[in-house]
């Protein structure tokens, strides 16, 4: 009971931070939107015809890359939590919380819930920009819901990972640099070009890395390309990342501190 009340109190605090200083949230929209403009507006014509030749994908290039960009938006939105958590941990207020009889996990739980909200908002903005640029999902409401659910599961998983990264990062700079690798991982997946078109070695990595099945699933659910087993693999990856991120965060957070 106290755990719920305390988490709600901490969440109010996080929401207030986000509303008052929305630059992190807005920043996590910028990256994917710039990618979208760059790949569609600048490189779209050439890449689009290349994709059509390589995979038989028809329709504009934006229909191909939008799912990848959406997943990038989810990744960059979730990963912003690392900075928020790290900044929080370096502030004296957390020491105060630790000397108070409050539910231990409430600080982290509130960060995760708040990040779910902000990532939903930032990802929705990125989808809206994609639609303005010509993205036309051809799907029914059920598939839309399935895609949203899948992205929410991914957000939850990546956010716990981000919490752990935020906890182990000594400085906010480190907390913002580390997750960059994760945000750019979709590049070496099927976000911008089919994995099958990549050189050996990179191709295998692209096929088996966690973002590819998510991207393929979203693409399949929103524009009807064949998804195969990808949704199942995507869920398995998300569950694994969530479990690992949560366990890591929990270990770091409850470890008796040295000083």
């Amino acid at each position: 009971m106290n755990a719920l009340t305390d988490t709600a109190t901490m969440l109010r605090r996080n929401v207030r931070h986000t509303l008052r200083y929305p630059s992190m949230t807005i920043g996590s929209v910028f990256g994917p939107v710039i990618m979208l403009l760059l790949f569609v507006g600048v490189l779209g014509r050439t890449l689009g015809s290349g994709i059509a030749a390589a995979s038989g994908h028809h329709g504009g290039y934006i229909d191909y890359i939008a799912p990848g960009i959406i997943v990038m938006a989810v990744a960059s939105g979730s990963m912003a939590t690392a900075v928020a958590v790290c900044v929080d941990m370096t502030e004296g207020i957390v020491d105060r919380f630790r000397t108070m009889p409050i539910a231990r996990g409430s600080i982290l739980a509130a960060h995760v819930i708040n990040s779910m909200f902000t990532t939903v908002a930032s990802t929705a903005s990125v989808i809206a920009v994609a639609v303005v640029l010509g993205y036309r999902p051809t799907t029914d409401p059920v598939s839309w819901l399935a895609a949203v659910a899948l992205l929410l599961v991914l957000t939850f998983a990546l956010t716990w990972l981000a919490v752990a990264i935020g906890l182990v990062s000594g400085t906010p700079e480190a907390a913002s640099n580390g997750p960059m690798l994760i945000v750019f991982l979709p590049f070496v997946g099927s976000a911008f070009a089919p994995a099958a078109s990549m050189p050996a070695g990179i191709r295998q990595f692209a096929e088996y890395q966690p973002f590819t099945p998510v991207i393929e699933s979203v693409r399949g659910l929103l524009t009807g390309t064949p998804a195969g087993h990808n949704p199942v693999i995507a869920l398995a990856w998300s569950a694994a990342i969530a479990a690992a991120g949560y366990a890591w965060a929990r270990t770091v957070y409850t470890r008796p501190r040295a000083s």
Partner: protein, 327 residues
Amino acid sequence: MDDAPRYRQAIETALTSTNRPAAIEVTGLRKSYGDHTVLDGIDLTVQAGTVFALLGPNGAGKTTTVRILSTLIAADGGEARVAGRDLARDPDGVRAGIGVTGQYSAVDALLTGRENLILMADLHHLGRREGRRRADALLERLDLQDAANKPLSTYSGGMKRRLDLAMTLIANPRLIFLDEPTTGLDPRSRRDLWEIIRGLVADGVTIFLTTQYLEEADRLADRIAVLNGGRLVAEGTAAELKRLVPGGHVLLRFADPRSLDDAARVLPVTSRDDDALTLQIPSDGGVASLSILLDRINAASLDVRELSIHMPDLDDVFLALTERNAR
């Protein structure tokens, strides 16, 4: 004969007052980081309703002691009861009974002062109305009402420290740890904070204070312990500690080494500093002994550049006790 019941009552009162439970009881507290021993077996008792000052140079282990006793870090050894609870077995029980204001402002810089206080009230489950009532009362008591709804970026250091203390006070803790509460504050803010602390003591709150300012300990504390190199090197009231060092003296400063030599030959010097060109002469600070000293200076035509009178204060105690171990 008729007085017997009264005697008995007096004896009983005396017994209960000495049996009053200690707010903090620590035996053999130890903490080390690798090879570096920070606390090397600390024993201390803080009676409820008193101010206990832990005094020591930087790095003596003051903050480590507070962090252990306030459940932030675990000790390597020793026993401690804080606010009536066992520190190792019942840290949440300890947390429920204490308030902590650390060396660095433990405030949420992105919220306003009032929001910070309400956050604390909510985390203590005070209820919406009671929490807001206490927040507003504390803002007024600590003279923050004008800045209550302003962001903390507009607060001065002294205001932040007062807000920090208000956040500690909102739950009405009976035992408060103040870790260097006035470090970095200007003299006026320091005095304001002292006044607030005195007010708390008047309400019966127990204060565990760490400080490097001897004046602060002298003015506020009932008992003072001096921590040096991880050990308590002295403990007692300010008066008891002052008795540990030699009495007062007069300090004479000279213009050159020759005048210093001349004076050293004719005056009852207890200590001499050739670099600073100073001599110390024992004195009780009274006018009679001073005029005798002045007569002797005049009689020998000594060229004294400067004369100052020093009565023993905690600075002397502190320097004497911590010098011994300084290496």
